[in-house]
Symmetry: C2
Subunit: 327 residues, 2 copies
């Protein structure tokens, strides 16, 4: 197996691209894929201030590294979700990455700022953990990006993620979600601009990228995502890809090219008012996140006040870092 | 396991309906599903002259039987496709069904009327067999229905078929096909009205219907469909259905309810002109079917003349029935 570019021994084969690559040309391939997406979808510029949402997993750390390599100015945002040991170890991977590169990391710990973690919230409210977690992450990311004046939030959603979400939405024809599944969501009052530069790379590729760049990351799947339908959708798409390499990309990019506009619906985000508890845009009196906080903590609306962003790039995990002892 | 209706011992469980049925109530269930589809989509009336396309398989024979039971006037059309032994044995099942019920059957043998069978056409033209077969069947059905003055052609496409076709079209976002995948296609100049009354029944249900009604049918899959991607799509949907009963119906009917209109495109069938060889509507000088005939038989356009419909309801399979000796 030889590298398509230099004919030296290859370290990875990418059937979808009908190509093998050595380490250097694979890393270049990854950078080129990200550059291409950024250009095709007009995502970000080098004079933008960018905030990357990092979890400690392969995708978000690869993304941060790739954007650095490509010359973008990127700060990180880590959210301590309070998923027991999993959050502790995830945070240590982020910390190590940041320290080695002297990057700026914002840390928001759900327990410290809002008095609950995902494990407790899910148990108390009987909500599916992934739903409570997603809601919390979106709320904290949006707020951090708007408060910090960032030009864009970038997230590490890869091709497998996006194809699986699309697959789930198509199987149930959830037309509201279908219209919004774009790689770029423009900023609106109270919402930052959100972009996904990894949509041309698969999970396997971001994992290989991290390994070849010496980036240590959280390998375990989140323990609360067990039985998540999303994982079943990924398996179905993987079987398809196995039989016919390229079909996952064809499914997702074909959708963006030929179908998504058919699901476009009027953007009602401008008609939202401020949440009476936290000020975030919402179509109700109290936003969904604040309702979750109230339920999870058993507090009442009068106890809720806007929370200042907690910025502590250098907090050591051993003395109050996210996930430590707040369950 | 007891029948949901009468509490007698049940013979079949339908997880999607969360129900078990005895023989009589299962047969009633099938009739009700067909009645409901006919009503919901305004498909056919009892004063219509209907032509059912029969292959000798479970779906088309079940459909013919169900429509008879519901009081519709239905003739059959069988096409001898020339797929070696498979066509011979398929025809015998149709013959037996027709003789037992004294029904009217039109038989068109591709070899006799057009000088080729699907096996030879596929080999000669290097076309995928399913493509040559589908093209031939559509052409002959359309012509037979229009020539015979029928109000509608009904076909035995079941829920598994329609969901699998939709799945394949969605995976590749074939938007042209997506807009046309309706249970009713209205008549246009040269094209008959086409409807699919079995879309609320699965393969398992039409098979059980035949067994319980004592209808003998061709059980074997077509030998030329081996490796057909369509079958892989059915498997993928079956896995999904296994995990979450009802998801196949949700996928297909959700599409009809919430998405198909988004893929509607202007119907260009009225702008078609007559094929210079056979007179069928086409957007070219010679229609796709006649091009297939010319290629498969090695004849030239001047040899082609409109072919009269061959009607021979009582032709014995042993002396020139479809598939016998024309390879």
């Amino acid at each position: 197996m030889k590298c398509r570019v230099c004919r030296e021994p290859a370290v990875i084969d990418l059937r979808r691209h009908n190509a093998n690559f050595c380490t250097d040309h694979f890393l270049r391939h990854c950078r080129q894929q990200v550059e291409r997406v950024i250009k095709d979808f007009d995502m970000v510029r080098t004079d933008h201030r960018i905030l990357v949402a990092v979890s400690g997993g392969k995708d978000s750390l690869a993304l941060w590294d790739l954007l650095n390599e490509l010359g973008y100015q990127v700060d990180g945002l880590y959210i301590g979700l309070g998923i027991d040991q999993y959050s502790d170890s995830s945070y240590r991977f982020v910390q190590e990455f940041v320290e080695q590169r002297s990057l700026h990391l914002i840390v928001v710990d759900l327990a410290e700022t809002h008095g609950f973690g995902v494990s407790t919230a899910s148990a108390t409210t009987r909500r599916v953990p992934c739903s409570a977690c997603g809601l919390s992450k979106r709320h904290v990311f949006d707020k951090a990006a708007v408060d910090g004046g960032y030009d864009a939030v970038v997230t590490g959603h890869n091709l497998d993620d996006e194809a699986a979400v699309l697959y789930g939405n198509v199987l149930r024809w959830q037309v509201g979600y279908l219209g919004r599944q774009r790689p770029v969501l423009e900023a609106r009052a109270g919402f930052p601009r959100k972009v996904k530069p990894l949509i041309r790379l698969t999970e396997r590729e971001t994992a290989a990228y991290c390994v070849l760049r010496g980036i240590e990351y959280q390998v375990e799947e989140c323990p609360m995502a067990d039985g998540n339908r999303h994982l079943g959708f990924k398996e179905a798409l993987n079987r398809l890809e196995e039989q016919s390499p390229g079909s996952k990309a064809e499914f997702y990019f074909g959708y963006l090219k030929r179908a998504i506009d058919r699901f476009e619906e009027p953007d009602d985000r401008d008609q939202l008012g401020p949440c009476s508890a936290c000020g975030a845009p919402t179509d109700a009196d109290v936003c969904a996140f604040c309702r979750l906080v109230l339920q999870a903590t058993g507090t009442s609306i009068s106890d809720r006040r806007p929370v200042a962003l907690v910025s502590k790039p250098d907090i050591p995990a051993s003395t109050g870092g996210p996930g430590s002892g707040h369950e």
